[in-house]
Amino acid sequence: MMDKSKLRGADIITGVLFFILGIYIIAEALTMPLKDSYAGVESVWYVSPALMPLIIGAAMIFLAVYIIVFAFRHGGVAALKMMMAERKGEKFLSDKNIRYAAVLVPLISMVYLNLTRIDFFITIVLFLVYTITVFHVDDAQIMRKLTFLYTAEMVFFLLLVVSGLDKLLTKLFAYSNDILALIYIATIIIAFSRNIRKSGVEIYRKRFAQAMWMTWMTPVVLVPAFRFMLRVPLPFEGIIVNAMSFVYYAIKQ
C-alpha cells in the first residue's frame, strides 16, 4: 500500500473519481425504464432495472464524499501538493517509470495486439523472451534499451494493424505476421546478448541462459498441453501450432 503520508492526497483523487462514477451510474440508471413499459411489460419503480444501480450510485457518491472530506481533514491537500511537486521533479523516462512500462507494455501488447494475430506459441515466446530476461538480468541500462526496442517493435506492428497492411501481407503469405514476430524475437535475443556482453558482468550471462531456458520451455509444455490434451482451440494458430498439429495428427494416424 502507498505511504500513509501520500495516501490522503491520493484519496482526494480517488474520491473525486468515485464521485464521478457514482454520478455516471445514476445518470445512466435514469435512462432505464422506471415506470414506462419495456418490451411490452409495464414497469413499476420497484421492479425497474434501474433500482439497484440507483442504490449503488447513491451509496458511491455518499462514500466518495466521505473519503474526500476525511482526506481534507487529515492533511489531504498538503499531501496532494507534495505528490504534485514530486511528480514535477520526476523525469517521464525515469528508471522507475521504465520499470513500470517494462511490466505493462508486453502484457498489454500481448493481449490486445498479438494474441489474435500471431501464432500462440510465438506470442508466448515474444512476451517471455523480453519479460523474463529484462527482469531476471535486472540492469537499469539494459532494461531501458530493451524496453525502447520492444516498444518500437510493438508500435511498428500496431501501425501495420491500424493501416490494414498486416491483412494485406497475410493475404500474400499466410504466416507473414508470424515471420515478423520471429524476427522481433531474434532481434531481442541479439540485443540482450550484445548488451550483456558489453556490460561484462558474469552473473548476467548465467541469468540470460536461465531466462532463455524458461522462455522456450514454457510454450513447449503449455501449448501441446492446452491444444492437444485439454483440446482448447488456441486464440490464433499459425506457423508453429499448425506444424505441431501436423506432426501430432500424423503420429496419431
Partner: protein
Amino acid sequence: MNIGQQFGVFFSSFFSIVTNPVQMLLLFGSTLLGIIFGALPGLTATLGVALLTTLTYGLPLETAMVALLGIYVGAVYGGSYGSIMINIPGTASAAATALDGYKMALRGEAGRALGLTTTSSAIGTAFGMFFVVIFTPLIAALALQFTSFEFFLLAFFGIMISGSISCPDTVQKGWISGFLGLFLAMVGRDQLQVYPRYTFGITDLESGIEIVPVLIGAFGIPQIIQVLKDRTITAEPTKLDRVLPSFREIGRNIMHILRSALIGVGIGAVPGIGEDIAAWVSYGTAKKASKHPGKFGTGCDEGIIASETANNACIGGAMIPLLSMGIPGSPPAAMLLGAILIHGIAPGPMLEIEHPGFTLKVSAILLLASFAMWVIGILLAKQVVKLLRVPATLFMPVVAVLCLIGSYALGLKVFNLYLMIPMGILSYYLTDMGYPLPPLVIGVILGGMADANLRRGLMVSQGSLAPFFTRPVALILLIVIVFTFVTNTSMYRNFTAKFKKNKGEK
C-alpha cells in the same frame, strides 16, 4: 439425512478417493503444488486455486475438487516455509509466522519449527473440516427459510463486514470497493426484464462480466505487476535439519491449538475475510493469553502454532458460508466458488437438496488434503526449501501466461482477456491506495443475487418495505448493517470518545 447416513456418505467418499489411485495422485500432486505456490514469495493460495481452476474445468467435479482443495490447503500451509527459512512470508497468511519462525531458524531449530507448523496446520485443517460437517447443514437449513429480502440483505451484510475488517485504511474504502463490485455485477442484461445495463453497445458485455476472469484479473495481475515492479530479493534459506513433528510439544500445546483453530474457523466463516486476518488475530490472542507474552517475537513455539493452526482452520471456516449460502468466506474460497459454478453447481441452501452429500464429500477431501499436506510436509520439506532459491522474476512472467491462457480456456472468449487486463490494473491501483479487493470480489459475486432478490421481494410485497422490519432474520441483518455503518462513522467515534472523557472526569 440422519447421522448414520451422513457417516456413511462421508466414509464412502473418503474410501472412494483413497482407493482411486488417480485421485490420490492428484491429491498429493496438487497439495505439493500448493505447498510450492505457498512457499514461493509472490505466488498466493488464491492464484494457485485460480490457475488450477483453468486446468481442471474439464474434469469431473469430484476430481476437480480434490485438486482444488489440495492446492488450497497446501498453499496456505506452504506460506510458512518462506517465513521460517528466509524471513519472507510466502503468503500474507504466514506473515505472523515469520515473527517467531525465523528466530527459531536462526537458533538452528528450523526443522523443529517446520515440524510444529506442519502438524498444527494439519490439525487446524482437520478441525475446520469438522466444523464444515456440523455447521454447513445447520446454516443451509436456516438459509432455506430466507426470502428474497434476506438474500438481498445478506449481500450487503457480506460487503459491509468484509469491507470493515479487510480494509487496511478507513472502512469506507472497503465499502466503496464492495459497491464497485456490485456495479460491475450490474453490467449486462438484467435477470428480470433482460434490459441491457452499462454495456456501451458491446455485444460481449450483454451476458455480463464473467466471474473467473474477473477473479484472475483481480488477484493475479496485481500480484504480477507488484512482484516485477518492486525488486524482489532472493534470500539464502537457513540450514534445515531433520523435520521432526514434536508430538510432545503438540500435546503440551493442545488447548492452545484448539483455541487457535476455533479463531480460524470463526474468522473464516465471516464473508470475505481471509487466512491472513485469522493468523494475526490468533497470534494476538495467543500473546494476550500467554503467561509469558514477552517471549513472543523471540522464537517461541506458541507464536508459530497460533498463526499456522488458525490460517489452516480458516479454510474450513471459509467453506461454511460458501457451501451453505453461496458466499465465499475468503479470497481463495471465492475462486473455489467460481470453479464450482463452472461445473454447473450453485452452492447455497439448495445445494444439499440438489446434490445430496456434496458437503460431506468436500469434508472428506479436506481431511485427506490435511493428511497429504502433513505427509508431504514431513517427507519433502528439504526439497521444497531448495525452491526458495528460485527468483520470482523467473516464474512470474510464466504465471502471467498461465493466467492468460487459463482465462481464455474457460469460455474460449478473447473478450475475457480484454476484461482481465483493465480489471487487473484497476485492482493494482485500488490495492495501492488502500482499497481492499475482497469486498470488490464479494460484490461481483453477490451483485446479481442482490439485484434480483431485492426486486423480486418488492414485487411480492407490492413495493412495501415492511418485510425488512417484520421478518426476524431480515431485521437482524438490517440492524447489523446499520450498526456496522454507524459505529464506523467519525460522528460515533467522537461521541464515544467524549463520553469516555466525561466519564473519566467524573
